[in-house]
Symmetry: C2
Subunit: 152 residues, 2 copies
DNA sequence: TTTCTTTTGCAACCACGTTGCTTTTTATTA
DNA sequence: TAATAAAAAGCAACGTGGTTGCAAAAGAAA
């Protein structure tokens, strides 16, 4: 079964790389698999840990940069300066990211989620200020860490 | 006149340091003056440049850390990972920061402002998520960079 | 398989931040 | 004002995260 999933994922990985005109290499396959197997974002450190036994530090950096350039993943700003990445939706492409959405960091499991469907509300700025883009990061408890409610 | 301002500011600096039970030293005076003379936040790099000719790199780090600990300044999260600091309002004190406000980064002059009076609007999170704190950073044109309107 | 192009690994480097320790400065008290 | 104790500053050394140039290896195309 694990084998089956791997095969499926493998096709998906090949597909994404081909579609973006990237050659299929070990490092790219490995890192892309990490993203596909993950609900939410991954910190650079974790990627390096999980891919780093097999690949050089520099290769990991370059692979991630390539993916960002191609619009396959996007960078998520964090308060603690640890860089995180997450898969982009399909409407991103080379040089054209479309990743303006709210991010949610769970304070319990430390997972970062992209909340693509949440509307960023209007902000009443002071006189003279006008904003072109608003970055919102919410902190709290995620769906998986929520304390379950006992029904009577 | 410059002399007068300096004297006034000097008193203010002494006052802030005394109030927080900090000894009055060259580095602390210099760095605090930078903040008092500035509308908006200052990047660590700038502080180091403007105070660094006279003081050691390490001293600048330690001074800023002391100010943060005492609730004199607060750290501002930025997308580009350049750490910025701004003066806290009076309701911050040692170990008790009260700096939950919107930040505004001007894309023209690159100044970062603390918008203390802006209300952070409610966010409709997906089912299962609950947030305890929302970080908002708005990007755009500030009051000083706004294109002036010609009156007829 | 051969050839050309792209990617990788390695070594070296830089920027940023931290730590331990000694010297200097500040506050306190005589 | 001079002596003392406590705090801060300077220095050197180190760690981490990220970058660059170049030679070797792997991938794509033929
Ligand atoms: Mn996202
Ligand atoms: Mn602020
Ligand atoms: Zn969680
Ligand atoms: Zn501006």
């Amino acid at each position: 079964m694990n084998q089956l999933i791997t095969k499926q994922t493998n096709n998906q990985v090949q597909d994404i790389l081909k579609r973006n005109q990237l050659s299929v290499t070990g490092s790219r396959k490995k890192i892309l698999q990490l993203f596909l197997a993950q609900d939410g974002a991954i910190a650079h450190g974790d990627i390096e840990k999980r891919a780093g036994e097999k690949f050089d530090r520099v290769t990991v950096y370059r692979t991630l940069q390539t993916f960002v350039d191609k619009g396959i993943i996007h960078v998520i700003p964090t308060a603690d300066n640890s860089i995180r990445y997450a898969l982009c939706k399909d409407d991103c492409s080379e040089g054209h990211h479309q990743d303006h959405h709210v991010h949610f960091v769970c304070t319990q499991c430390n997972t970062t989620y992209c909340l693509d469907d949440i509307v960023i509300p209007e902000l009443k700025l002071p006189k003279g200020y006008s904003s072109s883009h608003i970055e919102v990061v919410a902190e709290g408890i995620c769906k998986n860490c929520k304390t379950p409610v006992h029904l009577p």
